[in-house]
């Protein structure tokens, strides 16, 4: 992965806890009726895809040390609307328009954060209000219902899996390669690890931040495109709980919120883990409340575990 290996001293505790957790999960899952079916595996992957794509983008932003975005849902909604209202120009144009919209909106926030060091939380709350307010204003609340349905192909399945799953895998691979094999990716880790040092060393902090956010924007837009296709129309609330779901997946994947550590593959794992657990609970007949509760506990466990591993030996 990297030319210069990072010391891989895995302590007994660090290994036992996740293994025990995994064993419990496998046990639970294996004894759950219909869990071990091809259909269910497919359903899990399919339900991972939408949140997963956004979470992969969020991973880059978090690694680059600019924390989280609280404007994700609103951005996804806007891109979905642009996607649907440009259907008549063909699928490629519509997707391009959506992605460019997502990239422009999100990279702009990245620029303010990267070049002017604005606080990401405050900025993205503001952006969320602005995008949400403007969307309601311009759409007047009316849903976008396209006459032409170019998007149908995005709802189809290939080898039994929805197209979105392949896009998720593609985005993951792309993010992974970007992070580990490109100058920009390495700089994301460095900037996230110590932003002041990166600045003093003359690293292009602003540019790196913008690249990470632009990637994120493209991912949000892809999620928006799939959401729009799946629902065949877009309303102001289409984005739903995407914001927190994406952050949860990134955190469960073990990326540090303080930046400098994490990976796209781990986020994919985090997203799948959340989906699997929700699925097991659903199949076992637990209520929505219990599903959410367990998700919260899972995020907490991941955050604590990541933190303990990172600070092991430094405290």
């Amino acid at each position: 992965m990297t030319a210069v290996p990072v010391r891989s001293g895995i302590s007994a505790v660090g290994l036992v806890v996740p293994l025990a957790g995994l064993a419990v999960l496998v046990g639970l899952a294996g004894t759950t009726h219909r869990f071990l079916s091809l259909d269910n595996a497919r359903a899990i992957l399919a339900s991972t895809a939408f949140v997963g794509i956004t979470a992969i983008g969020a991973t880059l932003v978090m690694i680059a040390g600019s924390g989280v975005s609280l404007a994700t849902s609103q951005t996804a909604t806007v891109t979905a609307m642009f996607f649907l209202s440009t259907q008549q120009y063909g699928l490629v144009t519509a997707v391009t328009v959506a992605v460019l919209t997502g990239v422009a909106l999100t990279a702009l926030q990245g620029a303010v954060i990267g070049y002017w060091h604005a606080n990401p939380i405050v900025l993205t709350i503001a952006a969320g209000f602005a995008i949400g307010g403007a969307t309601t204003w311009f759409s007047g609340g009316t849903p976008v219902n396209p006459e032409v349905r170019e998007f149908d192909v995005l709802n189809s399945t290939v080898l039994g899996l929805p197209v979105a799953v392949y896009v998720l895998l593609g985005v993951t691979v792309l993010a992974h390669l970007t992070l580990h094999r490109t100058t920009a990716g390495r700089q994301m880790y460095l900037v996230g690890s110590n932003r002041t040092a990166a600045r003093a060393a003359g690293l292009p902090v602003g540019r790196v931040t913008v690249i990470a956010w632009a990637f994120f924007g493209a991912c949000i837009a892809l999620t928006g495109v799939f959401l729009a296709s799946f629902n065949t129309s877009a309303t102001v609330t289409l984005g739903g709980t995407l914001t927190l779901d994406a952050i949860a997946a990134v955190l469960v994947g073990g990326t540090a919120i303080t930046g400098g550590r994490g990976s796209a593959l781990q986020t994919l794992g985090g997203a799948v883990l959340i989906a699997v657990i929700s699925d097991v609970l659903l199949l076992r007949g637990y209520s929505t409340g219990v599903q959410i509760l367990v998700k919260g506990i899972l995020v907490l466990a991941a955050v604590v575990a990541v933190h303990l591993r990172a600070t092991r030996g430094r405290r």
Binding site: R34, S37, D39, N40, R42, A43, I44, A46, S47, F50, G132, T136, G140, G141, T142, P143, N145, N155, S156, T157, G160, P162, L227, S229, F230, N231, T232, S233, T235, V236, T237, L238, G239, G240, T241, L242, S278, D279, L282, L283, T288
Partner: protein, 311 residues
């Protein structure tokens, strides 16, 4: 549907200078957006002043209602977000002598006598959904059948009423069974996710029909079913919903959605506007009116295409 154009009602001149506070659903909700638009359009020519006090947040709604009350309008038109939270404010309005017209969802029974109302018939909407399913399954010649239901936010009376009607009719066909009922919170994305998992849980021969409480909740079920390889329509999964949107009408036409029902915002907005005119011109309308809801299936879909195309 009743109504004509409210502005043509006689005595509209006597409405000049009157004020209505519209404490309705916010325009971030498509249903609310179209309702507000039609309602306002219907009344503009009468010269009545409408204060926009819409919101989608229950807390803000209480505050805006109280605000409206303080401005002593001639009528408050209210679309309730949180039934309980509205009880005390409605009592206050009663005490202050400000008339309230509740539209769409019902008020809490304890204050039902204190307001006028133009209500959607949610029980009937639920019944229609059940009828659609039974009809669809019978048409396929099925002796038995399993059904999954994705509801709107369970805490809302609207949801509860629809389920009441739905269950009542389903009880008449005990050979068809509801195997799973989940709260999808009026959220299309959540509907999709839950549908994917439920379909996988019960398997291809474990589910024959599905009820998504609104078109935008039923369509994700159809997508999820398609992706999971379920046949849809004629010989496949029977999917129905219960308030029509344009996308739903298209799906009915395409044969993917077995049926839906009205509760379209335009109709109720027109009837509410009409009611308002009658009230403000002293015509003493009945205390409560119910909007006539219609069942929509492939047979009569063209008739409703226009009515349902606005949200």
């Amino acid at each position: 549907g009743t109504t004509g154009n409210a502005s043509s009602a006689d005595g509209s001149s006597s409405m000049k200078g009157k004020t209505i506070a519209l404490v309705g659903y916010g325009s971030s909700n498509p249903w609310g957006a179209y309702f507000n638009k039609v309602f306002t359009e219907q009344l503009t020519s009468t010269g009545v002043k409408i204060n926009d006090m819409t919101t989608m947040d229950p807390g803000t709604q209480v505050q805006k209602f109280n605000q409206a009350l303080a401005q002593k309008p001639d009528l408050i038109v209210l679309a309730i977000l949180d039934t309980q939270a509205m009880v005390a404010p409605i009592k206050k309005a009663k005490a202050a002598g400000v008339p309230v017209l509740a539209v769409d969802g019902p008020t809490d029974p304890s204050v039902a006598a204190d307001v006028m109302s133009v209500l959607s018939d949610n029980e009937v909407l639920g019944e229609y959904a059940a009828q659609n399913i039974i009809e669809g399954l019978k048409a396929q010649g099925r002796e038995t059948g399993n059904i999954i239901v994705l509801t709107g936010t369970k805490s809302m009376l609207v949801t509860q009423d629809r389920m009441k009607g739905f269950n009542k009719v389903m009880a008449t066909a005990p050979q068809y069974r509801v195997v799973d009922e989940q709260d999808a919170n009026w959220d299309p994305q959540l509907s999709g996710t839950i549908a994917q998992q439920l379909l996988a849980k019960h398997g291809r021969d474990g589910v024959q029909a599905a009820y998504g409480m609104a078109d935008y909740m039923a369509l994700p079920i159809i997508q999820a079913a398609k992706q999971a390889g379920f046949p849809i329509g004629k010989d496949g999964l029977v999917v129905t919903s219960s308030n029509c949107f344009k996308a739903g009408i298209d799906a009915v036409k395409a044969g993917e959605l077995y049926g839906t029902a009205t509760e379209d915002p335009g109709t109720i907005a027109k009837q509410s506007a009409d009611y308002t005119v009658r009230f403000l011109t002293g015509k003493k309308p009945p205390q409560s009116e119910t909007v006539k809801e219609e069942r929509v299936t492939a047979a009569n879909v063209d008739q409703f295409a226009e009515q349902c195309s606005h949200a």
